[in-house]
Amino acid sequence: MLMENKAENKAVFDAESANEVVKELRDSFVTGKTKSYRWRVTQLKAMLKMLDENEPQIVAALRDDLSKPEFESSLYEIQMVNNSCRLALKEMNHWMMPEKAKTSLTTFPSSAEIVSEPLGVVLVISAWNYPFLVSLDPVVGAISAGNAIVLKPSEMAPASSSLLAKLVADYLDSSCIKVVEGAIPETSALLEQKWDKILYTGNGRVARIVMAAAAKHLTPVVLELGGKSPVIVVSDINLKVATRRIIAGKWGCNNGQACVSPDYIITTKDYATKLVDSFKCELERFYGKDPLESKDLSRIVNSNHFDRLSKLMDEEKVSSKIVHGGQRNEKNLQIAPTILLDVPVNSLIMKEEIFGPLLPIITVDKVEQSFDLIHSSGGKPLAAYLFTNNKKLKRKFVETVSAGGLVVNDTAVHLAIHSLPFGGVGESGMGSYHGKFSFDAFSHKKAVLYRGFAGDAFLRYPPYTPGKLTLLQALLSGSIVGIIRALLGWFWA
């Protein structure tokens, strides 16, 4: 039952409430409503309308929560979801069609196909840094695959969370798609329920809790996490373009608070100074002499993270390595783009994912050593970047660096390419989505085999004799010659 909390005049969302929500969605799902192509199309079109008619409100909510510049909100939160919807609308028909599978002589005569069906009632738990993108993009996938959905946005972006709740209720089918707002208690209540799939975007600590909860119900999960995404910069490149692209991927994406944000740079000792100078020059061109005054940088999401980042910068032996930036405004939760050179490898800033506007540069004698450095850092990151024109280095990078995704000569843009699966490996997560991969993530691929009554291989059945064994060996090998030989042997025996 929903308990009335008179002091706050708000109902408490506990395990029973969660159970009721799931039950309602399951009842809707069972009617077959979400399976119909029509329903999926109407929901996706409604979402497009929702984004189109509420752009100013979305931009305003993101400004409240993150001081996110309009450019970033418009492009990365609204436009990207818009693209996902339109791709799904265009391709869904094709994705929903059964896929023919080849059958071999062994099961002749037969035909086989793989049919996609929705998993059922799914839970999407999203993060605070791209509150609209990582909430709605998975929801687009879940809708296109025909599921009923609960979306749990992050409470750390409260304006976005409540706007999402309002918009989803106003535009989408509430009997099949719901938003549950809240923090740890509400999330825990949701995690106690039985879901057919959970997609979680966030950090490794909470991901373990999500997966452990899912284990109780044997619920499959997609975990989109993070990691320290390294950038190797080699001296043979167009430095200006490379610098700009790194800046765009780092500070241009929520001021470094992104899962695929370039976390740290590795370059050669003799190139470091040039690189730092290039950064200084381009950073000033982009953000002006006083970056804290620039309108084009997100702020730090809250004081917890501000303190965390300050601690990283202020650590002894690290603070002295700042070569650019370092300005802070605690009241406004602002930290300027900050570059550090050659911090100790065992410092905090090099141990945990930074998720902020600090960019350490580590130098090595030879470029090849950067690969060792990445491997020795342990965990596999969500992304890894390399800037070079050298074919051999590119090949080595692509073949040996283990990460969710790799980009050569750019940063972060691979997210916009729908033909590439987006997901992690190891500590950076499991499963993937985007484009058709979203549809697949929320589908069960059911194998179907059609057999006829002709061609019943008597040798499948007992009583088992040595002669049958020989024939069976031939049949399973699929070799026509073998089968004919064995059959002849059978007839002659």
Partner: protein, 479 residues
């Protein structure tokens, strides 16, 4: 044991399992192992489960040979990166997806198909370039010993290891960090495996079970089709390890008026295949151990259930044999109708109308397979769209297992993840996305300071509205 795993990790780190030639050599060695030890394999299976050589070949040796051969012929194709389409906006760019091994993987196999369920996943793990620790089930001890002794003689010891032991060893293994865990077994243990994997964020594939129903709607077609139906049902129930299989037919659904026809056909077929009574049973496996034997016997203890037996029912505790047993309409709330049977007892549930079978199946959790014997195309479509299972097989039983192009796995309580054929390779791989970009041309509007013009430009660009972009650049669109 920790030392062994450290060695596996070291081997992987040093790239020992990466090369295609290593993978092929291991697969060829595995094929040699099977070819050169067929008799020992048959012997071990007979010892542990009373499997006859034909069954052992059909379900274990033959399946594995086929799997290795298929993998060897496709490996180069699977390992090659696949091109992905890149929108014009990013020109010049190249995108691809490259499969990579996950690292050190743990495979748990089950006792009912001790070779197939251990070595088929192993084939997948090797083909994807991983190092492997294999933990066979100790409930099939002769087979486990065979694997422990023989695998080191043929395969690369530094990369592929087998460990003997029971549940306690399994628990210890689960405490360690793996890059993937592949588990075949019961839902109960599946939960424990996934919970342990959660601590390390290890991805898992769980191949579990469920009550696989067979809908029987072909008895009133032609006598020959009815006969074949009966053969395939009997073959699909008692053929695979005497019903002790995740894909064995668990129970039948048939229209009331055809129940007696069905029972007569089944009886005839059972007698022809396996013998007249429990004393003369042949060509059929026995129950694996005392514990499982008692569990099955207990399913028949309920008097209401015992009353519903229409054929069989005899047991021989000494030989761990239960004869093929058919029950007609046992109570729906009895254990035999709520738990996965995993044995030679076959309940037949009658319905007024065969279409009701859909609701009946949906009242239970998703099984690994739904079998449907029917020629009614509309009914087939309804079964496909209104039920959910790992696989659906029409007009046969078991053979879907041999189809390398079909993914084999469950949904809901029957598990998640899949394998067989290329799916085995995929399940032990990470699909890494790769994007190559050139330095020119540059899209200036990406960079701050941002203006309305830049915003409009990028919006048009992201919509791939190239015409609109041209207009904007020519000054025909206003920002």
């Amino acid at each position: 044991m920790e030392k062994s795993i450290a060695e596996l990790r070291e081997t992987f780190k040093n790239g020992g399992t990466k090369s295609i030639s290593w993978r092929k050599s291991q697969l060829k060695a595995l094929l040699q192992l099977i070819n050169q030890n067929e008799d020992s394999i048959f012997k071990a299976l007979d010892q542990d489960l009373g499997k006859s050589p034909v069954e052992s070949y059909r379900d274990e040796v033959g399946v594995l040979k086929k799997s290795v051969t298929y993998t060897l012929s496709c490996l180069e194709k699977w390992v090659a990166p696949k091109k992905a389409e890149v929108p014009l906006l990013f020109f010049p760019a190249k995108a691809e997806v490259m499969p990579q091994p996950l690292g050190v993987v743990l495979i748990f196999s089950s006792w009912n198909f001790p070779f197939t369920l251990a070595l088929d996943p192993l084939i997948g793990a090797i083909s994807a370039g991983n190092t492997v620790l294999l933990k066979p089930s100790d409930l099939a001890p002769a087979c486990m010993s065979f694997l422990v002794e023989t695998i080191p003689k043929y395969l690369d010891n530094k990369a592929i290891k087998v460990v003997a032991g029971g549940a306690d060893i399994g628990e210890r293994l689960l405490q360690l960090k793996w890059d993937k865990i592949f588990f075949t077994g019961s839902p109960r243990v599946g939960r424990l495996v996934m919970a342990a994997a959660a601590k390390h964020l290890t991805p898992v594939t769980l191949e579990l079970g469920g009550k696989c129903p067979a809908i029987v709607d072909t008895l009133s077609t032609t006598p020959s089709k009815a006969k074949v139906t009966a053969k395939r049902i009997v073959g699909g129930k008692w053929g695979p390890c005497n019903g002790q299989a995740c894909i064995a037919i668990d129970y039948l659904l048939v229209e009331e008026k055809l129940a007696s026809t069905l029972i007569e056909l089944l009886k005839k077929t059972i007698k022809r295949f396996y013998g007249e009574n429990i004393k003369s049973l042949k060509s059929i496996s026995r129950i694996v151990n005392e514990h499982q034997f008692q569990r099955l016997v207990n399913l028949l203890k309920d008097p209401n259930v015992a009353d519903s037996i229409v054929y069989g029912g005899s047991v021989d505790e000494e030989k761990l044999v239960i004869e093929p047993t058919i029950l007609l309409d046992p109570p729906l709330d009895s254990e035999i109708m709520s738990e996965e049977i995993f044995g030679p007892l076959l309940p037949i549930i009658t319905l007024k109308n065969i279409e009701e079978s859909i609701n009946f199946i949906n009242s239970k959790s998703n099984p690994l397979v739904i079998y449907a014997f029917t020629e009614d195309e509309t009914f087939k479509k309804r079964i496909l769209s209104e039920t959910s299972s790992g696989t659906v097989t029409f007009n046969d039983s078991m053979v879907q297992f041999l189809c390398d192009s079909l993914p084999f796995g469950g949904v809901g309580q029957s598990g998640f993840g899949r394998y067989h054929g290329k799916y085995s390779f995929d399940t032990f791989s990470h699909e890494k996305s790769i994007l190559h970009r050139g330095f020119y041309p540059e899209i200036e509007p990406r960079y701050p300071p941002w203006t309305d013009f830049k915003l409009l430009f990028i919006k048009l660009a992201y919509e791939f509205d190239y015409f609109g972009l041209i207009l904007l650049l020519l000054g025909f669109k206003s920002s």
